[in-house]
Symmetry: C2
Subunit: 490 residues, 2 copies
């Protein structure tokens, strides 16, 4: 049965939560008294639908149903997860949490998006304090995996459920067992923010120069390894202790002004806002948001290609999504081998599209390669088989581009085995968006020994799997689009 999350308070953060739950197949009941709430959420959903599904290499579950509710009680009624994202005023949070607890299930988890308040402050005076955790996400909530779960004072079962549910929607719950003002990440952001204000106020650098100092330098390091693993590499072969010995004394130097806070007066606001306008004013906020999401998707998918950092989280989420479906099964897991097998089903990601939003030429072959890899897995040429020294190499490929497809569309590839005998494997892929044929890919592969890089005979298991598919698919005949060549000009 589809699970339900209640989102109390919309805006960019509440909207981002709603988008993440909906696109991961949860129903969402939303309560937000702001008359603009539906419009704001629709915009967040547009951006999220564009960016999130394509991050995955398998299809997300069908989008859940969104309901706007007139009261808190109505919204939280059937919810397993309740996310509070109202403005940062403690009295207001207490009021809303009380309303939630009057109506919600005893089994539900109540997460607060607060960036500043500690669980003990939120739990104070609550009917059931143990049901409440801080679940502090990062904007855009539908793309960034981090969520700080500060769980002091919460029931152990609530903490466990928080981990499960948040991981299940593709997040990384960083569970903190001691509470502190602003949790962890925002303490860093606050430190950097204070230092940045001084640099602006003292005329050392502009907003654009500060952004460049970050994104052309340590920002690139932090996107993958963070602080300590980066510094570990800086110590060279001597490692962390050597690095610490070098860096330690710098703490005595006058390298920050953070002991002090600049006066946040109108002059400073105007200075910052004016420089920011000069830097980014040529783009609308909605263009900036799309650009940000395009960049984040591209970076996340780059890290996915390296199976590292946030990319490794995505690889794991793909596996979890595919588990138990035909997209993860061996030859025995298919109910029907007699039709072309489903070897790929996914949304076209942003980084596969050209500036017009169409999937670019070489990504068709990327999709067919993924389908070929999947077919190899089905017949038993798995990661372990390859690690043990044998695989298939593609020798020849023929692609027909039949129709175009847009970024975000769900494409699927179905694969007929034209030949699977001895060393030879001949596949015919058809790529569809719904019923619309987009392209065909014909591939001739040879089984090879990875040590000698020479053709070799596949395992008995593979031979047998190919025989089963060959028998089952024999009735399909030779595909109409196969065996074609680009003709010699007259």
């Amino acid at each position: 049965m589809t699970r339900t999350a209640a989102i109390i308070g919309g805006g960019v953060i509440g909207g981002g939560w709603a988008a993440r739950f909906l696109l991961n197949g949860w129903n969402v009941s939303m309560y937000d008294p702001d008359p603009e709430a539906e419009r704001v959420l629709a915009e967040v959903m547009d951006n999220a639908r564009r960016a999130l599904p394509g991050l995955m290499d398998v299809q997300l579950p069908p989008e859940g149903t969104l309901v706007f509710c007139g009261t808190v009680a109505e919204a939280v009624g059937g919810a397993e997860w309740i996310q509070e994202s109202v403005p940062e005023r403690l009295a207001l949070k207490h009021e809303v949490l009380a309303e939630i607890q009057e109506a919600c299930s005893l089994e539900a988890v109540i997460g607060s998006s607060t960036s500043g308040f500690k669980p003990s402050e939120l739990q104070e005076g609550a009917a059931r304090g143990g049901q409440i955790v801080v679940a502090h996400p990062f904007n855009p909530v539908y793309l960034l995996p981090l969520v700080e779960v500060v769980a002091t004072g919460a029931d152990p079962a609530v903490i466990e459920k928080s981990r499960d549910i948040l991981s299940g929607i593709g997040m990384y719950p960083l569970v903190l067992e001691k509470e502190i003002d602003a949790h962890v990440a925002d303490r860093f952001l606050e430190a950097v923010w204070r230092e940045a204000l001084w640099l602006l106020k003292d005329g050392i650098a502009t907003t654009e120069e500060i952004d460049n100092a970050i994104r052309y330098g340590f920002g690139l390091r932090w996107a993958q390894m963070g602080l300590f693993e980066t510094y570990r590499t800086a110590g060279g072969e001597a490692g962390m202790r050597h690095f610490l010995a070098q860096f330690g004394p710098a703490l005595k130097w006058p390298w920050t002004k953070l002991m002090d806070v600049p006066e946040f007066d109108d002059d400073l606001v105007e200075l910052i806002a004016g420089q920011s306008d000069a830097q980014s004013g040529h783009m609308t906020i909605s263009d900036l948001l799309r650009t940000r999401d395009n960049n984040l998707v591209a970076i996340l998918r780059a890290l996915k290609g390296q199976d590292f950092g946030a990319g490794a989280l995505l690889v794991a989420q793909d596996k979890a999504l595919a588990a138990g479906t035909e997209l993860a099964a061996g030859v025995d897991g298919f109910a029907d081998l007699s039709q072309p097998l489903l070897t790929l089903q996914r949304a076209v990601p942003i980084d596969w599209a050209d500036y017009n939003g169409h999937m670019t030429e070489f990504r068709y072959l990327e999709a067919f390669s993924l389908a070929t890899d999947r077919f190899m897995e089905i017949i038993g040429c798995t990661k372990d088989y390859i690690a043990a020294g044998q695989s298939y190499f593609t020798v020849e490929t023929h692609i027909r581009h039949v129709d175009e497809v847009m970024c975000g569309a769900v494409i699927s590839v179905r694969t007929q085995m034209v030949l699977g005998q001895g060393k030879k494997l001949q596949l015919y892929h058809e790529m569809y968006e719904d019923g619309r044929l987009l392209a065909t890919g014909e591939h001739f592969l040879l089984h090879v020994d990875l040590a000698s890089r020479r053709p070799s005979e596949p395992s008995a298991e593979i031979v047998e799997a190919m025989a089963r598919i060959s028998d089952a698919q024999a009735h399909l005949g030779y595909p109409e689009g196969a065996g074609r060549a680009i003709r010699k000009p007259a």
Copy 2:
């Protein structure tokens, strides 16, 4: 004539500078009294050769020549740029700068890698203070573009030369006109470092948790937009002023401990080093360095695909490298149209390789697509032509995989036009590493009207360019590998 840089002081930073200059075609004269200097540099060069050339979509100039010198005077003799990277002790820096200025050209620029000292401190007592700037890079110097150029007290000509030379080797010189301890970026790093030490000492989070809080959250944002452009988007449609109004009051909250510095005693060092061992000790430093470089290359190339941030710098550098060569010319720029035209020449980047370091299947088509794009440009189907509403679409592709190629290898594609008549364009690409044939790509394209997405006649300019190539290449005949199909199984 090949230009020369002198690198005074090796290690990770000096070595990174040497690698960046050498791989961008400069000769390097190195002085470093450390007996390990040659070995350390060889390791840095290995990593840099693996990572940097493939960042580019055109080939870098031939690698320069490296000479180890026995004295500072010998090293700086013919150098246009002199980079000092000796340990951070002011007296030592003064000594080395004096030695440099005794022997170097009056026209040379002397850059110091210092992270802490201000130009005024370095220039104090110098023979020609105006020749000295701070040029503070970020590790790994051969990949990260940022270099802080603090130029107070320097001659205007020296500042201009700094910009030119550093941009020329693919860096982003952030020229600061006011000096301050630790310049800009390291002030942020120091602020974050202090806060991190408190979080560790107080047992709030471990080194791994802190790294995760960064790399799964704001680190991803900072890799592309930095601080202020990110916050601008957080303000929603109301923009920066709205954001500032929300964030301002937080400055009064107790969100950082930065007013205070923790005691950097043995206990704290052991705590950090122990947690870092637990987090990353399963990898050697050399594995970590490779992983870091793999990730950075993947992220940088992802941003290049979006033409944004550090990726936009790379796009610009590609253009500058190609300018004036056949790789940027139209049909008139080719000395000889009678042979297959050079349409691609580049190193295989890290993100094109599988875990074994071989170029993966679909990247062959990516390379051929780039070659096709380049051929289109040659005949006049340029970016402007496409923006005006017409282009070519690939309809059919046939690839033969003949041999494998490793990451880092320089591949080139040469293109024969088999047919270029009316709407039809038929290309035959051959991909080589030196003389070794790796693959062939045969492509049938149609000229299309981008509004109707239907075939249309190309411009007169394109028709004429195709006719010229057709005449010149007629003697080549129909390529031996063209017109082939994957055969129907017997």
